[in-house]
């Protein structure tokens, strides 16, 4: 069972208190975008066996959206961070590097 610490209310919440929200840091494309960009925004997803970044919502708690970094192979959680950012904070990236040297995810590493 996954347990995340909500970066807003500080509570350790397990999955039953949370709702998964899919891949993090998606770049959104809307009207005016090319078909390819729009299609890829809608459907293409990172699907790594290893380090992954996601959006979660503390739905049965404070209700806030937040970000999480975790491993899809071991379910290990590297950390959670605010939703108001376009990329993972350095501190989270460093934590991952300690445990998974040489990791990369999209343009981040």
């Amino acid at each position: 069972m996954l347990i995340f610490q909500c970066p807003y209310c500080g509570i350790d919440a397990d999955e039953t208190e949370l709702s998964p929200g899919g891949e993090a840091h998606l770049k959104r494309f809307g009207p005016g975008a090319s078909d390819e960009d729009f299609e890829s925004y809608l459907f293409m997803r990172e699907n790594p066996k290893g380090v992954h970044f996601e959006r979660w919502r503390h739905s049965n708690g404070c209700g806030k959206w937040f970000h999480a970094a975790r491993c899809t192979m071991t379910l290990e959680v590297f950390g959670t961070y605010s939703a108001q950012t376009f990329e993972p904070p350095q501190e989270i990236k460093d934590k991952i590097s300690q445990k998974r040297p040489g990791w990369s995810w999209r343009n981040f590493s």
């Binding site: 809608l42 459907f43 066996k49």
Partner: protein, 451 residues
């Protein structure tokens, strides 16, 4: 290959059963094959089988990182049905279901196909309307289904509780020729037939890289060394993303855990398959007497082959209302499989940007029942590098591609609107979400939300 028959059993009985031969060889890889299939699940093996049987291509290796049939093929709840609303889905799954009827004879291997009947409960007014619509669609598609009332449900499945209170049974979509098959036996039967045709099934051999030259595939790197090939088929279900990464393209697929569990064996008490989509649980009784129970998939990416406990709890809690007797059962085993889900739950059978490399994935949680057909169709893609335009089911699917082509000519705003709507309504999305080439992608609309 010595054929299995009643005579063979009698003969072996006289010989103290010393004359049985191994069902398949366990060869070391050759340096090169015409075709390499990655993944010895039901789909990979069926692909190899029909490549050999229908196209005479037998210089084939099926490469498997674990043991054959150890992926989702050996982890599912074995239900086979074709009661789908959309034409392409109904066509594919009905063709597949009908192939299952004679697959044991075809393979000379008892796959224990048991068309015991599949019942999908209507537990809301909305479901009644939905299933009545499906029955009408099935009538036009030539799939035999009917809508039955609660009384008939109770006759067919006496252990059911019709009265709720939360989820009363209001009727059911009944497919009398749906049922189950022994999933392992499906893989084993195909494997035996493939091996007999001279194909190599190479187990405990993980593909770790894909070799290419000038945009063309030339072979694979494996834990048993490099193996060259002319054509490569990726049929790895939950690991499609990993293999696509090696080949250098992206997929609209996410891997999530889907779970099932079985109870202790009990006396025969239920001889149909019952599915309850509102509460997301389904149940059948295995030949050993275990109650086989499946539920919903987790909502997040996962490669661990075990799902979240609370999902099981939810499934069982909901089923207990409809089947009060299972509250006393002890559950014996519980497991998960990694299923490859596309955004619109439509599978992908396609060429890829890497020439001579093909992919079959995105069947998510409903593929066992698609096994024979997909093998048949996909074998054709691998074998001839082209889609079998002469197959009716493929034609239907190809028309979807044409719809997409037409749509693409319109302004992107219109396209966008159509797509969003489809997603919101949870209707099959008619836009290809293949990274590759939309027209080459076979779009098969599996109803979103069917478990």
């Amino acid at each position: 290959m010595k054929r299995y028959s009643a005579f063979a059993i009698a003969r072996e009985a006289y010989r103290h059963h010393k004359g049985w031969e191994r069902a398949w060889r366990n060869p070391e890889p050759k340096q090169k094959y015409d075709v390499i299939i990655v993944g010895a699940g039901g789909h990979g093996l069926a692909t190899a089988y029909y490549l050999g049987r229908n196209f005479g291509i037998t210089n084939v290796a099926v490469i498997e990182k674990g043991w054959l049939g150890g992926g989702n093929t050996g982890r599912n709840t074995t239900i086979i049905r074709s009661n789908y609303l959309q034409d392409p889905s109904a066509a594919i799954y009905e063709k597949s279901r009908s192939l299952y009827e004679t697959l044991s004879q075809d393979l000379n291997y008892n796959i224990m196909f048991s068309p015991r009947g599949v019942m999908m409960l209507a537990q809301t007014q909305h479901e009644i309307r939905g299933y009545q619509r499906t029955v009408h669609a099935n009538a036009l598609q030539g799939v035999k289904t009917e809508f039955i009332g609660p009384k008939r449900v109770k006759e067919l499945c006496p252990i059911i509780n019709l009265d709720g209170p939360r989820y009363p049974v209001l009727g059911a979509l009944w497919q009398s020729r749906g049922g189950t098959a022994r999933h392992d036996a499906v893989a084993w039967g195909y494997a035996r037939a493939c091996s007999d045709m001279g194909m190599d099934i190479i187990q405990q051999c993980e593909v770790t890289g894909i070799d290419k030259e000038n945009g063309k595939v030339t072979g694979v790197q494996t834990s048993k060394g490099a193996i060259a090939c002319e054509k490569l088929g990726l049929v790895v279900a939950g690991h499609s993303g990993v293999l696509a990464d090696m080949a250098g393209f992206r997929l609209p697929v996410e891997s999530v855990a889907l779970q099932a569990l079985v109870s202790e064996p009990i006396k025969p008490c239920m001889d149909v398959v019952v599915m309850a989509n509102t509460v997301h649980g389904y149940m059948s009784q295995s030949d050993k007497g275990e109650m086989v129970i499946g539920g919903g998939a987790d909502g997040f990416n996962n490669y661990t082959q075990r799902g979240s406990f609370h999902h099981v709890e939810e499934t069982v809690r909901a089923l207990v209302e409809t089947f009060p007797m299972i509250s006393r059962l002890k559950m014996l085993r519980w497991w998960g499989g990694i299923v490859d889900m596309t955004g619109d739950r439509s599978p992908i059978l396609s060429k890829t940007p890497l020439e001579n490399c093909f992919i079959n994935c995105g069947w998510g949680d409903w593929r066992v029942q698609g096994n024979p057909w997909v093998g048949l169709g996909y074998g054709r893609i691998d074998g001839q590098g082209s889609f079998p335009a002469n197959r009716r089911v493929f034609n239907v699917a190809l028309q979807r591609g044409q719809i997409y082509r037409r749509k693409r000519r319109s302004r992107s705003g219109a396209l966008m609107e159509g797509t969003c709507k489809s997603l919101i309504l949870q209707r099959p999305v008619q836009i290809s979400h293949n990274p590759l080439n939309a027209c080459e992608r076979l779009l098969v609309n599996v109803e979103a939300g069917s478990c």
